[in-house]
Amino acid sequence: MTDEMDEIINEFIIEAEEILEGLDPLFVELEQRGQDAEIINEIFRGMHTIKGAAGFLGFQNLVDVAHRAETILKKLREGEMIISPEITDAILKATDVLRMLIYHIKTKEEVKEDINPILNLLDSVLSQASIPQVEEPKVATEKIEEIKEGIKPEQEEKVIKPEETVSQIPKEKEKEVATLRVDVSRIDKVMDLAGEIVLARNRLLNLANKLEAKYSGDENVESLIETTAFLDRVTSDLQLAVMKMRMQPLQKVFVKFPRMVRDLARSLGKDIELEIRGEDTEVDKSVIENIGDPLVHIIRNSIDHGIESPDERLAKGKPEKGKILIDAYQKGTQIVIDIIDDGKGIDVEVVKAKAITKGLITLEEAEKMSDDAIINLIFLPGFSTKDVSTEVSGRGVGMDVVKSNVAKLNGYVEIFTEKDKGTTFRISLPLTLAIIQAMMIQVAEEIYAVPQSMIEETLRVKVSQLKEVSGQKVLTIREKVLPVFILNELLGVFGQSDSDKKYILVASVGDRRFCIAVDAVLGQEEIVIKTINGIDSEACGIMGATITGDGKVVLILDLALISRKVFSVKG
């Protein structure tokens, strides 16, 4: 019986949290559009539902808070009250308190919550504005034109009259999509097993190919080849299907941003419009779970350091209102999230000076560095463009954490900035994390895998074709000079197979292009990344391991990390 009750309460928590999550963006929209009856009604419905559902279960605190918020919303909807930032703040606070109360129910904490402050706040909002004053809004707001638009006579209709409810705004027909809530661990198990099948398939393909070479024309071998080809296709489909099971829309992460931008902008006295595109883009669940913090950090930075104050913007001839655009889309096998602001841009000179005073680079190094390279210094640990970090983007966390968090998802961050035009942070992530196309390479006697997505092309060159410029080996490819790193040296692997020819992998990681010289390229294979427990993959540049078609365990090299290392050493 108690179990059953727990289940009902859990269900309530999930529903209530979903509703509350959906409300935040509505508030922001409400502030932008003024007294929009439709939005108010939607918020009202949410509150109403929470109140009712909480009532069923006897959560009186929730009922009390939701009831008062609902009353205010009803007055707003009927034009008996005029929306103002104070009222929005009060209702937003109410949603925060509801969240807290629900959280306590969730964690089963026996906390004696004092909800009197919020009740008093809501009551005072109610009493202040309960005198119907539709004509002359006494509450001073900066959005009078919008409000006037909002108050239309038809809002006077009393929605209570049941006869009229027939003509109520037709509710969107709920899509009765049959869904099943499945424990993530079960999906992960399927994912794991699918990975194992991929490995077995690879071995089988390998074996079948060998047999074909040996006994070509044999009937049994022919049908084995056919069967493995079929298995190959089905396995690919299975992979895709399992992958999709774990995919969720980015909206889950983005939904928090409107409120966050609103609150921060308000606290900093800035006026910022947030536009979100591509929130339907689906990414792996682990991306949903881990991309939030880096995004929050970048957005905070844009609000705090990027977008100028309204006065400053006007002085520059820019619109008073700043803009941040979050744009998510799929590009090939990658998911890209752009965070674009129209602020002041990143000042190369400021970054340069800062990096020198912080001892991150020397003056001579700075002279030699390109603007792009300098801007990328903000990703170094210990870098922060403001001495006194504000409450907003401070908190002792720097952009380096953004970079490393994104790198953990096998992604990378790029910056494009232009003075007074704005800055774009681009996060690129792989579509799936578990299964990748890899290039198998050989260094002396050892075999490694390198993610295919980072390799632009491969070529074979004579060692003598490699030139040396101030201690750095370089190779000219189609008139572009690219640095070359010898993998044998980087990994400390040497053997007798050092012939006079080398294979060159042209790698592209973020905005960096470079070459990696290896002894042999063995081919391409679809591999399943298995994490290796007990090693620090950050430190050693190894992403994980995989089992190849012929049953060998092969380490997967993390080119992003390796490139970062070599570039930071060689400048």
Binding site: E4, I19, H48, I50, A53, F56, P170
Partner: protein, 126 residues
Amino acid sequence: MKVLVVDDDKTTRKMLSLILKSKGYEVVTAENGMDGLQKLGIEQINLILTDMNMPYMDGIEFIKQVRANPEISHIPIVMLTTEADEEEKQRAYKAGVDDYLVKPATGEQIVESMKRIIKKIFGKKE
């Protein structure tokens, strides 16, 4: 014992279903009066729990329709609504509800009311 829950709000329907199921009732849900009438045509319903304000067909009209149809007019109806107005309550009783509960009502209160009505009806029959 099969209960028809009529409410336009998804969460309310879900929560009510869960609570009633936990108390051992079977539950069928409908999104509005129109939908409710359809469900009554398919399912053998023993009791109706309905909201008042709903789009397409509201609770009052729904009750009137149920009471006007001899095949289903005997089914007891509990109205569960936010309308605390005495006037609304009278309208509901006039249309033919057996009990009138004002939201927010706890699960216990709802089940109590249902039991009360069932007892009353059984009492009459015996």
